[in-house]
């Protein structure tokens, strides 16, 4: 059989499902030997329709899906990358349907604008399993099997908590946020801000700078530090913009800056391991999220009901638990250069 690891943390899940429903922990998902056998004999086909395929998170998801599907004898007939474009995702769904998959695993770029295209797939009798978000107007159990989400809100809370500890509950911080209507990043931003304001009255958010493309984050952070040369900390909404913050702070001699972020990318992990400016982060656990989605896909193919909303809890990562966390997140050993920092 296949099941989700027990190593997932037992943190409370903050995010609610797209329809406000409480989450079920992904740990409860598994496939029995019998189920597996039945799936294997179906010779099913699956397609993965991503919103963006170019980061660690997507890569870990796709790997997990591919690995798990191969255990289930499900052929992955297509993997697409919409590069954050709804038009492209719409086309991708249409094109993928020409391969007549039995199940599509996807994350909508935008719940409203892609609903129509996903509806096409529903009408064609294809099972749908979503990551993180669901098209507008879709009903679980009817239109799609289920959705597995990372606890983005929870991750924002983690990042805020680590920041507060690093600042000893007192200081000024800035937020480098994603200025776009994107569910996942909006939740993190919301969580960080709310947690700081409500729980840490002596920490003041003095700067907020938005970016549209993560490569602009470096300039945004430079400007923050220009205007507030004594800023104590910066929260960046994911790891790539956090690298931009690093590259802005370094030449300005601000090695005392505390940075927290979300997602355990290799670069930020390395900086953290070396005792750099990155002090900690909230991590999603994309590998096991992917495994969960694959299990749900299997259940759906067998016409078995599942819960409407699963979540993978947030993982708190600091220098101390970095190596173990890496294993949890990616289901593999941390890279050598990170391990070396601990010798």
């Amino acid at each position: 059989g296949i099941s989700v690891t027990d190593e997932l943390p037992d943190r409370e899940i903050y995010s609610n499902g797209p329809r406000g429903n409480k989450a079920t922990s992904a740990k409860t998902l598994s496939l029995s030997e019998d189920e597996l056998k039945e799936i294997k004999s179906g010779n099913y086909k699956a397609a993965i329709v991503m919103h963006y395929a170019g980061n660690d998170w997507s890569r870990a998801q796709i790997n997990a899906l591919r690995e798990t599907f191969s255990k289930m004898n499900i052929e992955v007939v297509a993997v697409t990358d919409a590069q954050f474009s709804v038009e492209k995702q719409t086309s991708d769904i249409e094109t993928v349907m020409a391969r007549q998959p039995d199940v599509i695993i996807s994350i909508p770029v935008d719940p409203t604008a892609t609903a129509n295209a996903f509806r096409l797939a529903v009408n064609a009798g294809i099972k749908l399993v979503f990551m993180d978000n669901v098209p507008a107007g879709f009903t679980p159990g009817e239109d799609y099997a289920s959705v597995v989400s990372a606890d983005n809100y929870g991750n924002g809370v983690v990042a805020a908590e680590i920041m507060a500890e690093e600042l000893n509950g007192k200081g000024t911080v800035g937020i480098v946020y994603h200025d776009a209507d994107f569910f996942v990043t909006a939740q993190r931003y919301e969580a960080f801000k709310t947690t700081i304001i409500e729980n840490y009255p002596n920490i003041e958010i003095v700067e907020e700078g938005g970016f549209n493309n993560p490569s602009e984050a470096s300039n945004v952070a430079s400007s923050m530090l220009t205007r507030n040369p004594t800023l104590d900390g910066i929260f960046a909404v994911w790891d790539v913009p956090a690298e931009g913050v690093l590259s802005a702070a370094r030449p300005m001699g601000r090695s005392d800056l505390k940075i927290t972020t979300i997602d355990l990318g290799e670069n930020v992990a390395l900086d953290m391991a070396r005792g750099g400016m990155i002090k900690g982060l909230g991590a999603q656990i994309p590998y096991w999220q992917g495994v969960s989605e694959a299990i749900i896909a299997g259940k759906a193919l067998l016409e078995k009901d599942v819960e409407p909303y699963y979540a993978v809890p947030a993982l708190r990562v600091t220098r101390e638990n970095l190596l173990e966390s890496w294993k949890t997140v990616y289901n593999s050993e941390a890279p050598e250069n990170i391990k070396n920092q601990y010798e």
Partner: protein, 315 residues
């Protein structure tokens, strides 16, 4: 008289290379992906659906490039036009008003581009690069990045989502605009003068062609076409969103150049443009169906474009 200059008709590579390239790529996919449904009616319809909107913009762009100018703002215009159309429908003002507002949005920015290019004399590359950001920013700001759904089914049917029989409505839009574009480009004074301006602006001027007016008009036309393309995006996606059309400017220009229009102006073909757009659509579609990784898709897509053109050229 002994000198006989006959119509040594030279097949310009630009005029036929795209057909060879298209045939080559299509047949290649048809053979290798036959089992995977590449040739299914459903998939052929997909290709047209995925190509039509780019084609509409590319028709406008063919005029712009033929006149020796360029328009980088088309992608952004589609977003703003889709959003304003969606807002009008959302306010329950009906399809006619939506149509007017959507097209007027495109036309307006086309006119602004045209003004700066033809009256102030700023290179169109700079004007439309600037407007590209300004318009996208406006679209972002208009609804604070939120998408606006369109619930008007009649609109959605006719402007992008519908099918007549097995044929997608977008196919008819593509044919309609292609036909009009063909006639205007080849059979009207405006089309002829556009080519003259692009071929040699001074000579055109010395022949009494109103060169500034022509430049103004091609920019306005391109804006209008982008406005229509935005409306089709809105109908296809049943919503408006500020990200629509991001990066389309490059695909559109690529379709035009691939089709055989000279980037330096003066020579072009509408049919080539349509085939150029289709060629790119077929490549995108085929590579996904082939089940390649994203990175493999990118690598091969680029190579196919170059090699298909090189191959057509050698012939």
């Amino acid at each position: 008289m002994q000198s006989k200059i006959k119509g040594r008709f030279r097949f310009d590579w630009q005029q036929n290379i795209v057909f060879i390239a298209f045939a080559f790529v299509f047949i290649f996919f048809a053979i290798t992906l036959y089992k995977d449904g590449f040739l299914s009616v459903f998939n052929i319809a997909n290709i047209f659906r995925q190509t039509a909107i780019i084609s509409v913009m590319a028709i406008g762009m063919t005029f712009v490039i033929s006149a020796g100018e360029i328009d980088l703002s088309v992608g952004s215009i589609t977003a703003l036009s889709a959003l304003s159309t969606a807002l009008v429908l959302d306010a329950g003002l009906g399809i006619i008003i939506a149509l007017i507002v959507g097209l007027a949005t495109g036309m307006f920015f086309g006119v602004v581009n045209g003004f700066f290019v033809s009256q102030i004399g700023i290179p169109s590359f700079l004007v439309t690069l600037g407007m590209m950001g300004t318009i996208r920013g406006t679209a972002m700001w208009l609804t604070d990045t939120k998408p606006i759904p369109i619930l008007n089914d009649t609109y959605n049917f006719w402007f992008g989502s519908g099918n007549i029989g097995l044929i997608p409505i977008l196919f008819f839009w593509m044919i309609l605009i292609g036909l009009i574009g063909y006639v205007v480009y080849n059979k009207t004074t405006f089309g002829r003068h556009t080519l003259a301006v692009g071929g040699n602006e001074k000579a055109a001027k010395y022949t009494g062609v109103k060169t500034s007016l022509i430049k103004f008009k091609v920019m306005a036309l391109s804006g209008l076409m982008a406005g229509l393309a935005g409306m089709l995006y809105a109908g296809r996606m049943q919503s408006g969103r500020y990200t629509f059309g991001e990066g389309d400017e490059l695909s559109v220009i690529a379709a035009v150049i691939l089709g055989g229009t000279s980037l330096f102006g003066g020579m072009g073909t509408i049919i080539g443009t349509l085939v150029g757009a289709l060629l790119m659509g077929v490549i995108n579609n085929g590579l996904i169906i082939a089940g390649l990784d994203v990175s493999q898709q990118m690598i091969i897509r680029g190579l196919i474009i170059i090699l298909a053109v090189a191959l057509g050229k050698k012939k």
